[in-house]
């Protein structure tokens, strides 16, 4: 990113704005990459996404089919099956690998859904005062204290089982914290003079929200989304473990559900339990580390004294 030799006068306002954004992004990246744990988290995430995308290329989907399974019944790890087999003789390694796809898909989609709902409600609650705000806050507070897993269980029991249901169940139950956060941020942004200036120049509600409030709130939303993915992945695995997942899709929680049904814990089949659980732990931790590093970029108060 070098701007030497480019005279400022030749640039349009739009290009100038993009240049400014580029510099801000570079500064944010410098700050982010100074956090070792953040970089580790990011590395793990890139690896996980690559593995998920490349699963159909690098491995054979037939191994997931119960009727084509070649291994023995719940065998410990050996040369052929590095992480052992499940009750049907399928490779746990392959199951866990393919589980990455569904777990990441659900985790990311549910987190996005919850953050979008939270952002919209948070901004509306802060921007329009009086009764709109009062009613919305009442609803946010209500959903905030409601035990979200209990509600998610209820939703996924009454809806048709499937990936979409799980995404909706998690997304609809985890938005309130995002809404509170966005509302607080919107309130501080709207107290600034440039909002007043925009209003004085005749900017409407939509213009102010889209052009001024949203850009100021988005970084926070992004951090929140990163942290929310971890929670959503854990929520997905919990719902699948309770038997509410899609029985025809392999997810980490689904493997653990099968392990419970087959009493793997009592049989001492640690190879059945460890891989999917470690996968959940590692990916969730990676999202948390990334989120915390991003938080530090945004909030200088959290930075270590140097």
């Amino acid at each position: 990113m070098s701007d030497e030799g480019v005279s400022l006068k030749t640039l349009s306002p739009r290009a100038l704005a993009w240049q400014r954004r580029g510099r801000a992004a570079a500064a944010a990246w410098r700050e982010f990459s100074s956090s070792k744990s953040g970089l580790v988290g990011l590395g793990v995430l890139v690896l996980a996404v690559l593995l998920a995308l490349l699963a159909p290329v690098l491995s054979n989907e037939d191994g997931l089919d119960v009727t084509k399974a070649t291994g023995g019944r719940m065998r410990p790890p050996d040369g052929n099956f590095w992480l052992g087999t499940d009750v049907d003789g399928r490779s746990i390694l392959l199951l866990t690998w393919w589980g990455t796809r569904v777990s990441l898909l659900i985790g990311i989609s549910a987190a996005l859904l919850s953050v979008v709902i939270g952002t919209v409600i948070g901004i509306i609650a802060a921007h329009y005062g009086r009764w709109v705000s009062a009613v919305l806050l009442r609803i946010v507070d209500f959903f905030l204290v409601l035990p979200s897993l209990v509600l998610a269980i209820a939703l996924s029991t009454v809806l048709e089982p499937g990936i979409g249901t799980i995404i909706v169940a998690i997304g609809l139950t985890s938005w309130p914290s995002a809404a509170r956060l966005v509302r607080a941020q919107t309130l501080t942004v709207e107290a600034r003079p440039y909002i007043e200036r925009s209003r004085a120049l005749g900017g409407g509600n939509l213009h102010i929200i889209v052009k001024h409030v949203l850009p100021a709130v988005l970084p926070l939303v992004f951090v929140n989304a990163t942290l929310a993915v971890g929670n959503a992945i854990v929520a997905e695995s919990t719902l699948a473990f309770l038997g509410l997942g899609d029985p025809f899709q392999t997810s980490w929680g689904g493997i653990l559900h099968n392990a419970t049904v087959d009493s793997a814990a009592l049989a001492g089949a640690w190879w059945y339990l460890l891989p999917p659980g470690v996968a959940i732990g590692v990916v969730v931790l990676a999202f948390t580390l990334c989120g915390r590093a991003l938080e530090t970029v945004l909030n200088p108060r959290l930075r270590e004294p140097r």
Binding site: L137, R138, D141, F142, L144, V145, L146, P147, S148, L149, V150, L151, I153, A154, L155, T157, V158, L159, G230, V234, S237, T238, F241, L242, G243, L244, G253, L256, A259, T260, A264, A265, L266, G268, A269, W270, L273, L274, P276, G277, I280, G281, V282, V284, L285, T288, L289, E304
Partner: protein
């Protein structure tokens, strides 16, 4: 957080909070109706899924559960029954759900109560030590461990504990059937059964208390009053105990109650893993059927319990923090 207006007294504050809680409770009841009576479309079809039934049988079932009436009338019935403590009958056991919940209530209270108290004590202690020795090995290690535990799904940790320590502790239930009926042996047996579920619950839950205590103590660390306390010659230990910790404790106290919903969620899966005979296991057993009245009952009871706890937190906070009172 809506604070009382200037001049509004404690009574007014309490009334506002109480009113809010009553509205929330009503919303839970309405949500329970929408979720389990409106959204499933046809509960009778769900109930008889996989069984050959004639239309007459369907009609009889619909009439027995009052499902042939209009939705508004159904809602009114449901409301009146709820006010009398009647949650309907379980599809699975044909027993009143209210009785079943009462039976299962105290095991859950025991598990959640013990778990919360231990998790809060552990979290506060670790968080205080970590913040006071910021960037020390202890700080980094304990924060890292807490984050790692927090990233694990509760039920998975329970399964791993069960695999690892299965021989030393009972694998499920609350008491062995052959334990003598006297109080001491019963209590010891329950304690024995309680160990693994409580360890699981505490391990996953304590992290948030530790992290919040740590960051809220860090916020206080540079405060002038701590410099004053040190300047007047107080030992480091006393500065921490008498000055820093009480101020840092406030956000954590509300958190304890606010996050009770999360503990309840953890308890559901822990109970499912260890067959602990509480509300969580009852929910788990009802999912497969699906036993809608049972799910509705546990939904309403768990949600209402968390709402009441939050009301208590709001009231407590007002008495604990003079700044909230003074506004």
């Amino acid at each position: 957080m809506p604070s009382p207006r200037r001049g509004g007294g404690t009574a007014r504050y309490l009334l506002t909070k109480l009113g809010g809680a009553v509205i929330s409770l009503f919303m839970v009841v309405v949500l329970g109706f929408i979720l389990f009576r409106v959204m499933p479309g046809d509960p009778v079809k769900t109930m008889t899924r996989g069984h050959p039934v004639t239309n007459e049988q369907l009609a009889i079932l619909e009439h027995r559960y009052g499902l042939d009436k209009p939705k508004i009338a159904q809602f009114w019935d449901y409301l009146v029954k709820l006010l009398h403590g009647d949650f309907g009958d379980s599809y699975q056991y044909s027993r009143p759900v209210g009785d079943m919940i009462l039976e299962k209530l105290w095991p859950t209270v025991l598990l959640v109560g013990t778990g919360t108290i231990l998790a809060v004590a552990l979290g506060l202690w670790l968080g205080t030590r970590a913040a006071w020795q910021r960037n020390s090995v202890f700080d980094k290690a304990s924060t890292g461990i807490a984050l790692a535990f927090w990233s694990m799904p509760t039920f998975w940790l329970g399964m791993i504990l069960l695999t690892a320590a299965g021989g030393l502790f009972p694998s499920g239930g609350m008491v062995y059937p052959d334990t003598p009926p006297d109080f001491l042996s019963q209590a010891l047996d329950i304690l024995h059964h309680l160990v693994l579920p409580v360890i699981t619950l505490v391990a996953v839950v304590y992290a948030q208390y530790q992290l919040v205590m740590r960051s809220s103590l860090l916020e206080e660390m540079d405060a002038d009053y701590l410099t004053t306390a040190r300047a007047k010659g107080l030992r480091d230990d006393l500065v921490r105990r008498r000055h820093a910790v009480p101020n840092a404790l406030l956000p954590t106290v509300t958190l304890v109650f606010l996050h009770l919903g999360m503990v309840v969620a953890g308890a559901i899966t822990v109970e499912a893993v260890f067959s602990w005979p509480g509300l969580g296991q009852m929910t788990y057993n009802a999912i497969g059927v699906p036993d809608l009245p049972v799910l509705q009952g546990t939904f309403i009871v768990l949600a209402a319990a968390v709402l009441v706890m939050n009301l208590i937190a709001d009231v407590l906070y007002r008495f604990l923090d003079p700044r909230v009172r003074a506004v």
